[in-house]
Amino acid sequence: MSNLQVSVYRYNPETDSAPYMQEFQVDTKGRDVMVLDVLHMMKEQDSGLAFRRSCREGVCGSDGMNMNGKNGLACITPLSDVVKNNKLTLRPLPGLPVIRDMVVDMGLFYKQYERIQPYLQNDTPAPAIERLQSPEERDKLDGLYECILCACCSTSCPSFWWNPEKFVGPAGLLQSYRFLADSRDTATSERLSNLEDPFSVFRCRGIMNCVAVCPKGLNPTRAIGKIREMLLADAT
């Protein structure tokens, strides 16, 4: 088994005038390791290689990146899922400014998350115990609250590429619907009125790249459809 050929996007703003692709040879000893393991092996060859990582089990959302053309989490993507012809190309998440190597500036992504007021709002006085919620009402949050903010979806979405300041993006909209769908939230009409402009929600063209790449198997397109339905019901 020959070494894995890895081609990595490199850019250090202090020394490079432009980004370039660097070739690495990585000996995985024939094991089907995760892409994150490969990055660590490369970092042993070149300690300057910069990438984010934390939990290494797919729940913290640090290591979203573009692997052979598809966004995903490096820590839960085995080589067998992405490597073709013994070659792996790693690039940072598309559409966001690169700080260094695989590290992107996620500021715009977080700004859109903050814009949807991602917290429960309830204007009734809190009871002495928990607010009650039936299992059926709670079930509506499944497939929504699990988002890890890795940005794989939003950065694979052309609408977000073209209008990252105005289109909330699939991740933010999924969270928006998480609160719209919560039986304990009382800010529905305010939330909806913040979304009815032509950009925030309606820039979604339903191409479903977000669904194709979500490492947690979530479906932002469906959530966006539900938001549209709620807007329609509210306004007609």
Partner: protein, 115 residues
Amino acid sequence: MVTNITSFGRSGLSDWLMQRVSAVILALYTVFIVAFLLFNPNLDYYAWSGLFSQTWMRIFSLLAFIAIAAHAWIGLWTVTTDYLKSTRLRVGAQAVIILGIFVYLVWGIQILWGA
């Protein structure tokens, strides 16, 4: 809430709804015209002109023209806001599109109701 002044209805929801309603109108109109052509294989000027001389057909056609105008504006406005990042270029392109749609509408009405 993102503010904007050049979209069709100033609201994403109304634009979105308009896009779908106009699409349905255009689909019905297309189906009708295609069916008319199929059922009249030896179509001549008189039959065609006769169709369009009826008031209901003129209203139906006007509705379709307006639907095309709205549909085109919403769609092209979206395209310009996606791809044209220079404000000057975008406003210019939008002005040209508006003018084009206006000319088309006036011309269409002229044909339908004129002389």
